[in-house]
């Protein structure tokens, strides 16, 4: 599927992204997170290989930004869980299977194996390098295998 101009992508998904962020963060903190989400998407947009799952991709970026905002607000607290059913942009089965993984590994596994995104794209979601994204996915898969075998 062809990748649309960024304006088209932004116009299509910005209302839903703002809705997600307001539910997670409240109105005030959602505004900064909204800007950060689309700047991250913009940064990675020219490296996308295809135009599939753009909605899932940007909602996952928004979820990651929300986690970062929580973490900054409460530096010593536990990491919050990833989004729940209504917003979780994950392939259903893989979503269930990966419930127990740490958020970063879970996002990497779901996006790699559920949505077939490249490590470049996943890196944009995690705001990390492609190599770190690859590591998160492979650590996640190893952890799942270990859980399956016990």
């Amino acid at each position: 599927m062809a990748i649309p101009p960024f304006e088209t992508f932004y116009a299509e998904h910005s209302p839903e992204v703002l809705g997600l962020l307001r539910r997670k963060l409240g109105r005030d903190r959602a505004d900064d997170a909204f800007q950060e989400t689309f700047l991250r998407a913009l940064r990675a947009y020219d490296r996308l290989d295809h135009g599939e799952h753009l909605r899932a991709w940007v909602l996952t970026i928004a979820s990651r930004v929300a986690i970062d905002v929580h973490r900054r607000a409460r530096p010593t607290a536990e990491l919050p869980e990833l989004a729940h059913e209504d917003t979780r942009p994950a392939h259903e089965d893989l979503g269930e299977l990966t419930d127990g993984l740490p958020p970063k590994e879970r996002a990497a596994v779901v996006l790699r194996y559920g949505y077939d995104l490249t490590y470049d794209q996943i890196a944009a979601v995690l705001d990390s390098s492609p190599e770190a994204a690859r590591q998160a996915a492979s650590t996640g898969v190893r952890r799942l295998r270990k859980e399956q075998s016990t």
């Binding site: 101009p5 088209t8 932004y10 839903e16 909204f34 800007q35 700047l39 913009l42 947009y45």
Partner: protein, 186 residues
């Protein structure tokens, strides 16, 4: 839910400042109707009459890259100079141009076109001659018709050998309006 206008504008301004945009554009009202104006880091990329934004966006993305965003800040200077021109306060544009994707001959023709001053006209044949190919008047007509940045590159100042207006990519009415603004036509 729609995105509030101030939040939307903050993102668009931040995107323009980030240096991440391949091109920014805006829709600008003018006496000739609504114009779509697009610019890159290099300079002004396009001015379109009667724009169909979706088709224009695809065209800009093919030329400059897919990170195209409506961003008034990105084309602020073009907008200001166009306003001044239409108000009669500006006779020459002081804008960098991004004329990528053109053949060498088109580039030479547009370079010569840029030198036809406010309030004067030249013929297609004369422009062809100045660009180094006196027999290419018809080709010059085609190049005028496809001028990526009309008004700023003044293809409205190019007329037939007998003084007839011949044609205009944006419609003859607009050619008449521009030449009237410049005092060539009464």
């Amino acid at each position: 839910m729609s995105v509030p206008a101030d939040l939307d504008r903050r993102f668009r301004d931040a995107a323009a400042r980030s240096g991440l945009l391949d091109a920014g554009y805006d829709l600008v009202d003018s006496p000739l109707g609504r114009l779509l104006v697009a610019a890159t880091e290099r300079g002004l990329l396009r001015i379109s009459f009667d724009p169909d934004p979706d088709a224009e966006l695809e065209r800009i993305a093919r030329l400059a890259g897919r990170r195209v965003l409506r961003s008034p800040a990105r084309v602020d200077r073009v907008h200001r100079e166009l306003d001044e021109y239409f108000e009669g306060r500006r006779h020459a544009f002081d804008l960098a141009l991004d004329l990528r994707g053109l053949t060498p001959f088109s580039e030479r023709v547009l370079h010569e076109l840029a030198r036809v001053p406010f309030g004067e006209t030249a013929t297609y044949a004369r422009l062809a001659e100045r660009a180094g190919n006196p027999r290419a008047a018809r080709a010059v007509g085609t190049i005028m018709n496809r001028n990526p940045v009309p008004i700023v590159l003044p293809c409205h100042r190019i007329v037939g050998a007998n003084g007839s207006l011949v044609g205009y990519g944006g419609g003859l009415d607009r050619k008449v309006a521009l030449l009237t603004l410049e005092g060539v036509l009464l």
